[in-house]
């Protein structure tokens, strides 16, 4: 029997749903083309997606090219300072109206027939329009745009779904955790340099689950840190993690550096004189306590936006430099992901510290970073294995059982001041399971009302 693509999606979703009860997840979900196509329709077209940091388009007319799902969009700031997310395709014949990856322009003119749009997406003109387009209903021929755009803590998100919930609803309790990190200083954050873009041979979910809370990989994947003297006790540090699962597929985890043996003066390893510059003005006492006691390390906003507040440690100077990475796992196919990486800093940090921390951060982060090059080498495994005969014949599920009841040492944090579920060590994959449950819900919800499962494309 030949399975149609819709049957394949249903089979993988059924395996995911039955596996969720005992902590397995079908490896085919990282490789199957029809699952990937369904994700574009049911996850990416229905979610709030990160597109840019506000500081990248600081001035009126500034724009950057980004993607929503696989669709290229122009993220613009119009003459009145409002941000728009516009589909980069002329309404006349579909040619790209914006060609450069970044710049400043009041208008975008199509190279084909010259239709021209303002940077807020509205139709502006066409050559000889009084002769050619006497009755064109120009209000209907502006660039297609994401119906919803939200900016919070400088992070610009957009949703392609007209029926999307508000961004606040979408984040739910994750907002409490994001604010603790990105709201540390009321003057906001800025991007240093331009984002790195790199093509990764992996499914986007592998990166996403790592940022959800894979605290157990650190001691082995990144053991070369011990070889270099940049850390001494990665395994013993697993007790210093704490995991938080605020719901709706989002996740975050923290790592208290005070017991790391590193020369720590203030939370996250900031030098005290830098830490004292942060006003923490908009943080509640609970969030301040959370930052000081737990030190949020990384997290994921469903489906594919991550952050990582890490540090580099120079064993010679004994200097700790803190940096905050923004990460987007941009889908490019079932087994391909474009990895975008930004480094952002608080405006309040002295420029000299920011510059040095950016440069030092590049030693550990992104494609050339000594941390991430090892991650990126291992992450093609699920998408490679997911295509295998073995995986199909054995209905191979990957193991996510750490932290299941009775499996691991640890449990909820008793006096945790924040919302959602918590776990008091690295010994759980609960954050990833929560991400997977939400993914299953989204994939199934997108399939509601499918009269004929044999006809893909009608199941939205």
């Amino acid at each position: 029997m030949t399975l149609t693509s819709s049957d394949r999606v249903q089979a993988v979703l059924a395996a995911a749903a039955s596996g969720a009860a005992h902590g397995t997840f079908p490896v085919e979900a990282f490789a199957d083309d029809s699952v990937y196509q369904a994700e574009l329709d049911r996850v990416f077209a229905k979610s709030w997606l990160f597109v840019a940091h506000e500081s990248e388009i600081a001035e009126p007319g500034d724009y950057v090219l980004r993607h929503l799902g696989e669709d290229e969009v122009i993220v613009t700031r119009d003459e009145d300072g409002r941000i728009h997310v516009l589909y980069n395709a002329c309404r006349h014949r579909g040619a790209p109206v914006c060609r450069g990856a970044k710049g400043n322009s009041s208008h975008f003119r199509c190279p084909y027939h010259g239709w021209t749009y303002r940077n807020d997406g509205t139709w502006a003109s066409a050559p000889r329009k009084t002769l050619v387009y006497k009755n064109l209903d120009t209000a209907n021929w502006g660039l297609l745009a994401a119906p919803h755009v939200a900016v919070k803590w400088g992070l610009v998100f957009a949703s392609p779904d007209p029926a999307a919930p508000s961004f606040d609803d979408y984040l739910g309790d994750m907002a409490w955790y994001l604010e603790a990190v990105f709201g540390l200083d009321s003057r906001g954050m800025i991007v240093m340099g331009e984002p790195e873009r790199a093509l990764l041979e992996a499914n986007w979910k592998t990166g996403a689950e790592n940022y959800c809370g894979d605290a157990l990989h650190v001691a082995h994947t990144h053991k070369s840190l011990e070889d270099l003297g940049m850390s001494q006790q990665l395994l013993r540090e697993q007790e210093m993690y704490s995991m938080f699962s605020p719901g709706k597929g989002h996740a975050t985890f923290a790592w208290n550096l005070e017991r790391s043996g590193l020369p720590i003066e203030a939370p996250w390893g900031y030098p005290k004189q830098v830490w004292d510059l942060f006003d923490q003005g908009e943080l509640t006492a609970d969030q301040q306590r959370f930052n000081a006691e737990r030190m949020p390390l990384a997290g994921l906003v469903f489906p594919n936006f991550g952050f990582f507040r890490g540090f580099s440690f120079d064993p010679v100077s004994q200097r700790v430099m803190v940096h905050t990475q923004l990460r987007l796992y941009q889908p490019r196919g079932a087994t391909k992901t474009e990895v975008l990486s930004w480094l952002v800093f608080h405006v309040a940090e002295p420029e000299e510290y920011r510059t040095k921390s950016y440069q030092d951060g590049l030693f550990v982060l992104n494609a050339p970073g000594i941390l991430e090059q090892d991650d990126f080498t291992l992450w093609n495994a699920p998408s490679r294995v997911g295509r295998s005969r073995f995986a199909r014949d054995h209905e191979m599920g990957l193991n996510y059982q750490a932290g299941l009841p009775g499996m691991s040492r640890g449990g909820p944090i008793e006096d945790h001041p924040g919302p959602g579920e918590s776990y008091d060590s690295a010994f759980t994959e609960g954050n990833i399971r929560a991400f997977q449950r939400h993914w299953i819900d989204q994939m199934n919800a997108g399939n509601v009302g499918s009269a004929d499962p044999g006809r893909p494309g009608e199941d939205r």
Binding site: R99, A101, G103, L362, A367, P368, D374
Partner: protein, 179 residues
């Protein structure tokens, strides 16, 4: 990028110097292609080396903004960080290079011009770099290197290297080798 090179600049460098530079680059390429000989390559690097790989932002043809904007890097390395990268490979836990990448670079288009003083020469070169890794799709990297070589006795040391990649999206996400 830096100032364009003119034919007249090139004419100021002796044939002996140009030949010596070309020979040095060939030997250097051989070492860089062999992930197990990078310590020997590091011996050719000056202690004050600046090794940078800036980020490419493709702009419209007539844009007045730079394609490689200031302050945007994939790599921002010095003598010590290069040494740490190379030392790391010996530690048995550098998964990105285990087994090591098979690298083969073709370096050509070599243009040697006078440096800031008599002990330095500026060298530009173009490269194609092919990479094979077990369980990965082969990658083809391309770019231009702007180097400053410093005379030291009858040899050169690499004093500066800026690698202008052709790629706005890196062809692989594991940049665990050197250009």
């Amino acid at each position: 990028m830096t100032t364009p090179v003119r034919r007249t600049d090139r004419a100021q460098v002796s044939l002996e110097t140009e030949t010596a530079v070309r020979s040095w680059l060939d030997y250097e390429s051989m070492l860089l292609d062999d992930m197990r000989r990078l310590h020997e390559w590091h011996d050719l690097v000056a202690q004050d080396v600046v090794y940078q790989v800036p980020v490419l932002v493709p702009r419209e043809f007539t844009s007045n903004l730079p394609d490689y904007p200031d302050g945007s890097y994939h790599m921002y390395d010095n003598w010590f960080t290069l040494k740490m990268r190379i030392d790391r490979l010996d530690g048995e836990h550098a998964w990105a290079e285990d087994p090591p990448s098979r690298l083969r670079r073709v370096v050509t288009g070599i243009v040697v011009t006078p440096g800031a003083d008599e002990t330095h020469v500026n060298v530009r070169s173009a490269f194609h770099l092919h990479r094979e890794r077990l369980r990965f799709t082969p990658e083809l990297w391309a770019g231009e290197r702007h180097d400053v070589l410093r005379r030291e006795g009858d040899d050169f040391r690499l004093a500066q290297r800026t690698v202008y990649l052709n790629h706005a999206v890196l062809p692989g996400a594991v940049l665990s080798f050197l250009f």
